[in-house]
């Protein structure tokens, strides 16, 4: 049997049921009643002890949301979501405001240990080559604990949960929250604005280079809850910050909703590097269960010569709807988008980016690598536009797709709009299959079929892997291997 044929056979037998992170932690939780109404929004806001202005902001979002309809333009197919059949808030009971790690439920810590998150400081310190990572862990809906806070404080960096930021830094929240993704931006962003329960907040003062990688770990644990975290990162003039988020979820028969919003703001000469490793539960071999991931991520290069770089590795979720974008407002500002999207089983990915060039001589670069196996559908959707005033704007786009087997699909949907005649846009795209000959060549040298596929795929995504923080590169290579495990022998 030819290798590709064999691969297809194997894909039919694919066993994503062996999802590595599929365990459930039994912890008492405090849930809001099912469904969504103004009362639920009030409930959440009250639970979090928010000031009146914050509640008003949420209610305005809710009022917009009720008049909006779900977007249907993406190449994804799923049954209609009943938004009144979901829980919008679930907090582990014992973690309302932990002061230190000792106060955190040991079972929760055990969960993170299973996930291999370096939550404890000593584990972090023992990490690769003295790499230092500060972690803000979001469990279902609230931020559990933030490590390294004190040290960051010394540098003047604020890294805390959104709830805390609302309480402690209202002036920053009022100024920046919703300034990149407004309440009524889109259906899911409006939903998030109304019910977001927690998330991370980062503020890097002028001229400060954040002394460590910042990291957030999200995990959805409770049944039928949505996770609506909201992240806001502000880099003042001349500052630099690198941020990494990782996501996992336990196995569930029913679908779970994840609708996050991330806003980045870079002022003059500032740089933000935002990396995501997303490994939400993708559903089982029949496409049952799995996370619906509807995320709005947008960065605003507000200052001149500012730079925002998105790097994402997407291997999980039943459905991914996600377009981390850059508004290149500042002159000579720069946006980058590096993406690896792996889909297997019945996963559907519709992801890409938007580069909106408004500033003069702004530039952007898009490198997207899609790998489709099994029965999955993998779409790149991207917009590159240059405003009338964005003279000298430049973009380079490269979209490559790799197919494994003959039941999957890869699609590329680029939109390009240039409203001035000095913009310079380049677009390259390729689609290829892993050939039997290549696999045979590797196997003749002693590699198993699975090792051969992992090697070829890792070669395919190399340009993007190199953009990840060092300590996550090896991990990501492994994750890609695991994600494709079902696709070969």
């Amino acid at each position: 049997m030819p290798a590709v044929q064999e691969t297809i056979e194997q894909v039919r037998k694919i066993d994503v049921d062996q999802y590595k992170y599929g365990f459930e932690t039994k912890i008492d939780t405090v849930k809001a009643p099912k469904g969504l109404s103004e009362d639920i929004v009030r409930f959440i806001s009250e639970k979090k002890g928010e000031p009146a202005w914050m509640l008003e902001w949420r209610l305005e979002a809710y009022r917009r949301w009720v008049n909006m309809t779900e977007p249907t333009w993406a190449k994804v197919d799923y049954p209609k979501i009943d938004f009144n059949d979901l829980y919008y808030y679930a907090a582990p009971k014992s973690t309302e405001g932990p002061k230190s790690l000792d106060e955190v439920d040991p079972e929760l810590l055990a969960t993170y240990e299973k996930l291999g998150i370096p939550l404890r400081e000593r584990e972090v310190l023992a990490g690769v080559q003295g790499a230092r990572v500060a972690v803000d862990a979001v469990f279902d809906s609230v931020s559990v604990v933030t490590t390294f806070k004190d040290e960051l404080k010394k540098a003047g960096v604020i890294f805390c949960s959104m709830s805390e930021a609302v309480r402690e830094h209202p002036e920053l929240i009022k100024k920046y929250l919703g300034s990149v993704v407004p309440q009524g931006d889109n259906f899911y962003a409006a939903l998030n604005a109304a019910v977001f329960s927690d998330g991370s907040f980062v503020y890097v003062p002028e001229g400060v280079r954040c002394p460590m990688e910042l990291s957030t770990y999200f995990r959805i644990n409770e049944k039928q809850t949505g996770q609506f975290e909201r992240t806001l990162i502000i880099a003042e003039k001349g500052s630099y910050v690198s941020y990494l988020e990782g996501c996992t979820a336990p196995m569930r028969d029913e679908h779970q909703l994840h609708a996050a919003v991330v806003e980045l703001i870079a002022l003059d000469d500032a740089e933000i590097k935002y990396s995501t490793v997303q490994n939400w539960y993708p559903g089982d071999k029949n496409g049952k269960g799995g996370i619906y991931n509807f995320v709005t991520k947008r960065g605003d290069c507000r200052g001149d010569r500012s730079k925002i770089s998105w790097t994402q590795v997407e291997t999980g979720s039943a459905i991914t709807w996600k377009y981390p974008s850059c508004i290149l407002r500042g002159n000579e500002s720069r946006g980058e988008f590096y993406s690896i999207a792996v889909s297997n089983g019945w996963q559907q990915v519709d992801s890409g980016t938007k580069m909106i060039h408004l500033g003069k001589n702004s530039s952007s670069r898009i490198i997207s690598k899609g790998i489709a196996a099994g029965h999955s559908q993998n779409t790149y959707r991207g917009l590159v536009s240059a405003h009338r005033k964005a003279t000298g704007a430049r973009n380079f786009t490269n979209c490559d797709s790799l197919l494994i087997g003959d039941k999957c699909g890869a699609h590329t949907v680029p939109y390009i709009e240039a409203k001035n005649n000095t913009a310079h846009f380049e677009h390259e795209a390729t689609t290829s299959k892993i050939s039997d000959d290549t696999l045979f060549y590797c196997r003749q040298r002693g590699l198993s079929q699975e090792e051969a596929v992992a090697l070829v795929v890792n070669g395919f995504v190399r340009d993007v892997l190199q953009q990840l923080p060092m300590e996550f590169m090896a991990e990501t290579q492994k994750l890609i291997g695991i994600s494709l495990e079902g696709s070969v022998g």
């Binding site: 196997r443 040298r445 002693g446 079929q449 070669g459 190399r462």
Partner: protein, 251 residues
């Protein structure tokens, strides 16, 4: 010892027989050459030895070290010491030669019950091998075979062969597309790997390679069968007379 016994092979998805009762024995320590015209089944033999998909063995057997390898996967054969130097080596974009070789060496070592080599040990190991073959390791920093000239590809194959330490080497038209210098490097590599522990099969079109690699036996293959065997002088004879007499016999 390699023993090929009355081997019949057809294409898996076509009713066309390619090898029609091929019998061949190569003891360890010997280098044999197979010569034959295009379409005689030489490359098929190389692929069947290595276990490529797309062929069906309808009868006969292949024994290596007394054990039939027909049911083995390609990687199991590699672990048993079978190495095929490809006529057209594949390109693997984004994968550095070092990474590829290290993955292969460690996979084979694991299968052979040896400990894996650490990166520094591996580098030393490869550099020593490369020096012996007079091959610059710089090309191992580049992605496997991507943008390589014909000569570079073949040199890379010989280096892989040296590094993987096989006991049965099959070289499929390794001389095709080589200039005289590359031909010498490749031949020197092959000659330096001659050993009492190793059997080698050199498949070629032309006699010129056999000026550099002097075989112990030469076999003439036409239409899926060995038609004549002899010592190295048979190659010279073929150069003069060609394959015509065997072809008419086969027809």
């Amino acid at each position: 010892m390699l023993e090929i016994k009355d081997l019949h092979v057809k294409l898996a998805d076509e009713d066309r027989e390619i090898l029609k009762g091929l019998t061949l024995t190569i003891p360890k320590g010997e280098v044999h050459a197979i010569m034959g015209p295009n379409g005689s089944g030489k490359s098929t033999l190389a692929y069947v030895l290595a276990g490529r998909d797309g062929y069906e063995v309808t009868s006969g057997d292949i024994l290596w070290d007394g054990e039939s390898i027909l049911e083995m996967e390609p990687e199991e054969r590699a672990a048993k010491g079978v190495f095929l130097a490809f006529q057209y080596p594949m390109e693997i974009p984004g994968v550095a030669g070092f990474t590829f070789l290290r993955t292969a060496v460690n996979a084979v070592r694991k299968a052979r019950g040896l400990p894996e080599l650490s990166t520094p040990d591996f580098m030393k190991f490869v550099k020593a091998k490369a020096e012996r073959l007079n091959i610059n390791t710089d090309m191992l920093k580049r992605p496997v075979n991507v943008g390589f000239s014909g000569g570079e590809k073949k040199r890379a194959e010989i280096l892989q062969m040296e590094v993987l330490e096989p006991t049965l080497c099959v070289l499929d038209e390794t001389d095709s597309g080589l200039d005289i210098d590359a031909l010498r490097i490749v031949s020197d590599g092959v000659n330096s790997m001659r050993s009492p522990e190793r059997a080698m099969l050199v498949i070629t079109h032309y006699q010129r390679l056999l000026n550099h690699i002097v075989p112990d036996r030469v076999h003439v293959m036409v239409d899926g069968k060995i038609r004549k065997s002899g010592d190295a002088s048979l190659a010279k004879e073929l150069e003069k007379s060609g394959y015509a007499e065997y072809q008419s016999k086969a027809a």
